[in-house]
């Protein structure tokens, strides 16, 4: 089991425990003629616990029944992919994530158009490391296109800038 899988497995079991407990205590299981709100979540929680443990057992069995080298190879291959590329892909992903999060944060606060501009510009410059002129051009075109499409053609309700209205 790789490190990621390990964490995921533990999270699954923990989640199962939490859900089962919460369903039992707060949501009530009800009686058979009328299962309560907690019935289904409780079953899900228990299922998660059981399946999580099962997963762990399967991984354990797999590990011990295999020759150690094979197992190691799989891990090593994954490791190489990560280390040889350096940090750049990881950084790229983090920047993309942060930029998208910023978009969500700004969307209602500064309005659709401005936040789209910020997002696109940020993406081009930070994630893609484009030159600033090309970034601005791409940003302007995309933002204008999206604005036209959603505001005028589809008449979707989108937040406008509170500073102006």
């Amino acid at each position: 089991m790789s490190r990621g899988e390990n964490i995921a497995n533990l999270v699954t079991i923990a989640l199962g425990v939490f859900v089962a407990y919460h369903s039992y205590h707060s949501l009530k299981l009800g009686i058979l003629i009328s299962p309560g709100a907690g019935f289904m979540p409780f079953l899900c929680g228990v299922a998660l616990m059981v399946l999580g443990i099962f997963w762990r057992i399967q991984a354990f069995l797999l590990k011990s029944s295999r020759h150690d080298n094979c197992f190691h190879d799989a891990q090593v291959v994954e490791g190489t992919a990560e280390t040889s590329a350096g940090l750049r892909p990881r950084v790229k992903l983090c920047l993309a994530f942060v930029t998208t999060l910023a978009y969500a944060f700004l969307f209602e606060r500064i309005g659709f158009l401005l936040s789209t501009l910020v997002f696109m510009l940020g993406w081009q410059m930070l994630v893609e490391r484009e030159r600033w002129l090309k970034s601005i051009i791409i940003t302007a075109l995309c933002a204008a296109a999206m604005y036209t499409l959603f505001r005028y053609l589809l008449r979707v309700e989108l937040p406008s800038n509170p500073l102006f209205s």
């Binding site: 019935f39 994530f97 998208t100 978009y103 989108l158």
Partner: protein, 503 residues
């Protein structure tokens, strides 16, 4: 007026220039709506409803709205295949093999087969609608809570076939989906579950946000982490249309999908989703090379796509014959008819035969228009994939974000979208198939709700699920399926352990 007179008169109505224009407009708008994630046909029809007030006759209005409705079905498969973005529940299954085909450079054939399958399924089910509408509608009524429970459970079982290599992990994902489905106010008891004090969670998560986040956004996040430039179309775009071999493989899948979709689609509620699931599972089981499923098997696109189109055409049956809308988009069409003084129901065919036959005839016409629209567009769509990922990725994110936001106009949905994207990314990294998640999310509330309703009806007795003929049949199918799996697994174990590549 017998059926043939009706159909002929219907065609006279549908083929007038005005109505043809409305049909085309509807098909066009519908395709656009289907391609854009988040904007569903229901919302679009609602937006355009006031425009229909000024048109005196109900016929052109309904023709246009029907066009939007199944146009959206055609369009939904486009983004599923190209970008792993399902536009709605029924398109999720298409993502699984469709996107894989696109990654292997076979986006063209995938889109083409989806369009062709949809056309055949749509046309055949309209024929079915014409000939068998009233008795089928009555059949649909006999589906009460116990039947819906059994059917949804069957669907869930089928969803397990989407789980890829590890069944355990697939089941975990499925249970996770079920859990996500419980968030919000429980309709049977009125209690709010897992909302942790956040008001927006009281109405639960939205399907589009979840599916698009896990599939689409997750895919983008994963791709960004790959070194080198990401190219969705890895080989030269030579074959844009399906080859004869593709067609040979798919035609039976299309036929089966059509039948499955037609019958399951009549049932109000999750008709299209369940039918696409059942079709996928059936195709995988029947196939001589099931290991291809999940890796880009064209039957995995042809079958479910036909099923969901057949289902969406079939969902008109309860509307036109019983006056019962089966889903949100049909409900809007229902509202439009009522506003215009036309009461859909058993008397529709008598009181307003022009509406009844006109709409049905326009559905034939509409299907033809859509295939004419969509097939040439396949080349265009595939070209779209050549846009540099540095521009394509953020634009897709923008589209999905705006689409998600427009569902309830709350910023919360944006955060939820990102959170689901992270979940999708994690699943991709762990090489766990995300397919069962959105499907369990949709089916869970159906299963739970119908079960509790049935128990209330029966006074707590579980016998209700087997004492009724339809439910019994479905349960029997379910049992057969499970037993079959078991026998198969035992037989495989008996053959002894196989020395093969690592799982």
């Amino acid at each position: 007026m017998n059926i043939f007179d009706g159909i002929i008169s219907g065609f006279f109505i549908a083929l007038t220039p005005g109505n043809l224009l409305f049909a085309f407009l509807g098909a066009l708008i519908g395709t656009a709506v289907g391609v854009l994630p988040g904007l569903g046909p229901a919302a679009t029809i609602a937006l355009l409803l006031p425009i229909t007030y000024s048109i005196p006759s109900p016929v052109p209005a309904v023709i246009m709205m029907a066009g939007i409705y199944y146009g959206a079905m055609y369009g939904g498969s486009t983004t599923s295949i190209l970008l792993n973005l399902p536009g709605e529940a029924a398109s999720v299954v298409t993502c699984i093999d469709g996107y894989k085909m696109a990654q292997k450079g076979r986006a063209g054939p995938a889109l083409g087969i989806a369009a062709i399958g949809s056309f055949i399924a749509g046309t055949v089910s309209v024929v079915g609608l014409t000939l068998f509408a009233p008795p089928i509608a009555e059949f649909a009524l006999s589906f009460g809570p116990p039947e819906k429970f059994s059917l949804a459970l069957l669907g869930l079982l089928m969803a397990v076939t989407l789980s890829g290599a590890s069944v355990t992990k697939g089941l975990i994902i499925m249970v996770l989906g079920l859990l996500f489905g419980t968030v919000g106010i429980d309709p049977i008891s009125g209690k709010s579950r897992f909302d942790f004090g956040v008001t927006e969670l009281q109405s639960g998560f939205d399907f589009v946000t979840l599916a698009v986040g896990v599939f689409g956004l997750g895919e983008i996040f994963y791709n960004l982490e790959q070194q080198g430039s990401v190219e969705i179309v890895t080989t030269k775009v030579g074959q844009v249309f399906p080859k004869m071999a593709d067609w040979a493989k798919s035609r039976l899948a299309i036929l089966r999908g059509t039948l499955i979709g037609f019958f399951i689609g009549i049932i109000p509620g999750g008709g299209a989703v369940i039918s696409s699931l059942v079709s996928y599972a059936v195709e995988k089981k029947i196939s001589k090379h099931p290991e291809e499923f999940g890796q880009g098997a064209i039957e995995g696109v042809a079958g479910p796509e036909s099923a969901n189109n057949a289902a969406s055409s079939a969902s008109f049956i309860p509307l036109l014959t019983l006056g019962i809308p089966g889903n949100a988009a049909i409900a809007m069409i229902f509202a439009c008819l009522l506003i215009k003084g036309v009461k859909p129901g058993p008397f529709l065919i008598v009181e307003h035969p022009d509406v009844f036959w006109g709409v049905i005839a326009s559905m034939y016409v509409g299907n033809i228009m859509l295939i004419i629209l969509n097939l040439p567009l396949v080349g265009v769509w595939v070209q779209l994939l050549r846009v540099p990922y540095g521009i394509l990725a953020p634009v897709v994110i923008l589209f999905t974000a705006i689409g998600s936001y427009s569902i309830a106009n709350q910023a919360f949905d944006l955060y939820a979208l990102i959170a689901f994207g992270v979940l999708g990314y994690v699943l991709r990294k762990l090489k766990i198939e995300a397919g069962p998640l959105p499907l369990a999310f949709i089916l869970g509330p159906m299963i739970e709700g119908s079960m509790r309703q049935s128990l209330l009806m029966s006074g707590g007795s579980f016998l209700i699920f087997v004492s009724r003929p339809i439910s019994l049949t479905i349960v029997a199918l379910f049992a057969l399926f499970v037993i079959g799996q078991f026998v198969f697994a035992v037989r495989r174990a008996r053959q002894g352990p196989r020395i093969g590549p690592a799982v």
